[in-house]
């Protein structure tokens, strides 16, 4: 447990997210605000779910460890459902705010589109979720100690970092897909998002067996990422144009509208 473990795990867990933030969000103050608001909404959902969990623990039998584990699993499932509910609530709030702003402002276009909001809010959720999962572990990794000295897994920090990265990316993809399916009223894809979130969380129940949890999680990351790419309007043609620098829209993306 040295500085290298600390920095390595930090960059594994938060590297993609920070890069996305620096390159796409940091320049635009409106996006930063919506990112922080998204983080706040995730925090509220966590608060609510831990309140419920706390109450159930208080009224339960504190001695029985299997009951406690069962309650914890219940807490996880509840938390996932509440997160998705709060994501939906955030979506509704943003729609209302956008309509209000459109009515008020004299311009015809909104300063920020619903797709950008989906991306930004998903990333906000991801940041907060990753931070809450990882920061205490990172703080501990700076100090002295030996991992797994009592026979636990030696890859605790590394697997936590990879899992956190997966969760952050997944939240972002889920955000995009979620908002898109709410816009188009495809309730089935909404259900798929919720189910995939539940799936990922439930995969972590087998956690000292990292192969069983990390590999399927990354497969899900890849699949959901692909789905989010197509939802956001990407296509093979776009990708080709972008990669060969022939995409006029992309090249003009930095031009300000008159």
């Amino acid at each position: 447990m040295t500085a290298s473990v600390f920095f390595g795990c930090t960059f594994i867990a938060f590297g993609p997210a920070i890069a996305l933030f620096l390159f796409t969000i940091a320049r635009d103050p409106l996006r930063v605000i919506f990112l922080i608001a998204g983080a706040f909404f995730w925090l509220c959902s966590l608060l609510l779910s831990s309140l419920v969990w706390f109450i159930t623990v208080q009224i339960s039998n504190k001695e029985s460890s299997s009951q406690q584990k069962g309650l914890l699993i219940f807490g996880v499932v509840l938390s996932v459902l509440l997160q998705e509910t709060f994501r939906f609530g955030y979506y509704k709030l943003l729609k209302k705010a956008n309509e209000g702003l459109l009515m008020l402002s004299a311009e015809e276009t909104m300063p920020i589109s619903i797709r950008q909001l989906a991306y930004v809010s998903g990333l906000g959720f991801g940041f907060m979720s990753g931070a809450f999962s990882m920061i205490n572990i990172l703080a501990d990794s700076v100090g002295p100690g030996t991992i797994g000295i009592h026979g636990d897994s030696q890859h605790f920090f590394l697997s936590s970092a990879f899992m956190t990265m997966a969760i952050v990316l997944l939240h972002m993809f889920w955000g995009v897909v979620f908002f898109d399916s709410c816009e188009k009223q495809h309730w089935w894809s909404l259900a798929v998002v919720v189910i995939s979130h539940l799936l990922v969380s439930c995969l972590t129940f087998q956690n000292p067996q990292y192969v069983g949890s990390l590999v399927p999680t990354y497969i899900i990351v890849f699949l959901v990422g692909l789905w989010a790419f197509f939802c956001a309007g990407g296509s093979l043609r776009n990708l080709k144009l972008c990669l060969t620098c022939k995409d006029k829209d992309f090249l003009l993306a930095n031009h300000r509208p008159r």
Partner: protein
Amino acid sequence: MGECCVRPVTPQAGVNGRVLRKAVILRLVSMGECCVRPSLLRLVSMGECCVRPVTPQAGVNGRVLLKAVTPQAGVNGRVLRSRSLLRLESMGECCVRPVTPQAVSMGECCVKRSLLRLVSMGECCVRPVTPQLESMGECCVRPVTPQAGVNGRVLRKAVTPQAGVNGRVLRNAVTPQAGVNGKCCVGRSLLRLVSMGECCVGRSLLRLVSMGECCATEAPVPTQNQHPEPGVTGVRSRGGGGGPGAEQNGQAPPQRPPQVVESEEDEDEELTLKYGAKHVIMLFVPVTLCMVVVVATIKSVSFYTQNDGQRLIYTPFPEDTDTIGQRALNSVLNATIMISVIIVMTMVLVLLYKYRCYRVIQGWLFLSSLLLLFFFSFIYLKEVFKTYNVAMDWITLAVIVWNFGVVGMICIHWKGPLRLQQAYLIMISALMALVFIKYLPEWTAWLILAVISVYDLLAVLCPKGPLRILVETAQERNEPIFPALIYSSTMVWLVNMADTGLGHRPMTRKNSTEAPITQVESQSLALGPAPLSPPEDDGGFTPNWMGHQEHQLGPLQSTDETRREIQQLPSARPVMDDDDEERGVKLGLGDFIFYSMLVGKASAAASGDWNTTLASFVAILIGLCLTLLLLAIFKKALPALPISIFFGLVFYFATDNLVRPFMDQLALHQFYI
């Protein structure tokens, strides 16, 4: 030479026309393209197809008219996108919105209902404007009364007559006869500004004359006054002032009755939207930096979390008592004493300010900033060196502390680069917060935070609240409020308009009263000095300077004729771009201190959990965001503490007691949610 029309076309469709895709009832002229929709227009030669029904005579050399166009839309007009009711001049572009007639030649499209006649080379007015924008005038974006802006630039808001011949944007309503070489009245000035005046940034009741600047907000129309103006008193009359005749200011009287002044609320909302986000970020960054400094110090330097048994004299009751009841009682008493000290200090400050004892206030704030910059930073440095076991000799330390302190005093009290001043304000806020964290016992600190937000709410919003009195007094006197007690995100350099050949004289003036002030907090261990600048009622145009100018240039001879002449000249003076982006936003240092104190206490608490710190941090930022939103809506001084501290406290206690056990259990089993 035409191609086939693929649909039935009426006769004479497409001489050199290409394929007409749909029925055309038009006579396409030679070299016209096919109309793809039913066009009711007569496209002139070389015109393109109208894709929507257009009234006749759309587009002489016009391109495709997309929407219906009233007659005579666009001789060389380009595409009229909407129902244009305008006559586009030759070479004019198409109007995309309905425009009233007479959008003159070389005018571009009026994109909104312009009620104006755009003069040659004028741009489009994007909002309804009253008639008679002078030649070479730019578009008025708000309704302007006649005679706004000869070489004027865009008048952003309604302007009373004769606002700003070479006018720049007047930010607020101006009553007539605002002086000749006047500067802006920053508060409710009842003065007459002279020509070459700068903008009135407050509720000015003056009329800016030639070379004056534009009013940027709605002029006080009698029926639409949002701010009741006091009566004009003490108007100094200078030569050439006068009665209604001079109000024309050298212009021919308007030919049309002035239009109704449009409500400016939608304008404000748009500006709010565009610039509000930027201001929020301008405050997020320093608040975040201050919190980061405090949390980093708390986590690394153990001095600030040690309980030495020392207490401030303001909190005499100890908290390590035997029973919880006793502890609660002690903390309540401590909080009461502290709050009453703060209240008394605030009252004393307000009284001193009201009775103009500026020297006393200055001295007081000078001493307290001295204390902070030298003594507290010395202690901080000492503890940091102790923590990291850095060997340091006294001489080097003395040099470092001396330089740090002196540069800080200069930056805060006098002048300095903006970033350096902001950095020093952040540093002294952090130092103050650390002192509070160290010396206030646990329960006392939380109680003080709660009570001070309530006090802040009352002090700023109640009509007799001391802080509100302070703010209003400062606004009346056109003075900045203790610039060093407030963190400001911008500083405005206003170039002296009078180019007397002595060179430009830049003056720094912080637009303290321009942007609504969020909060002014003065503590007992008061923060930062107040270099109260002397009341600049003459705007720097001291009698000395005026005499000097008259000596150099001869007495001012501004008459109607000369003013008219000047107004006809194209404006060569580079006008400073002082639109709304440059308006900053201000936050009191007390807010910084209490936010950082909350987050620092959250990280110093026994559990040492980072999640709690993070949760309080996000909650405070969201509270600040909401406060700024309210500020943008209400546009007056608002307390910045209540919402943020309330959210911060709720999230701190909830996270510490509810979320932490949950997350600990999850981390133990390595479950992820």
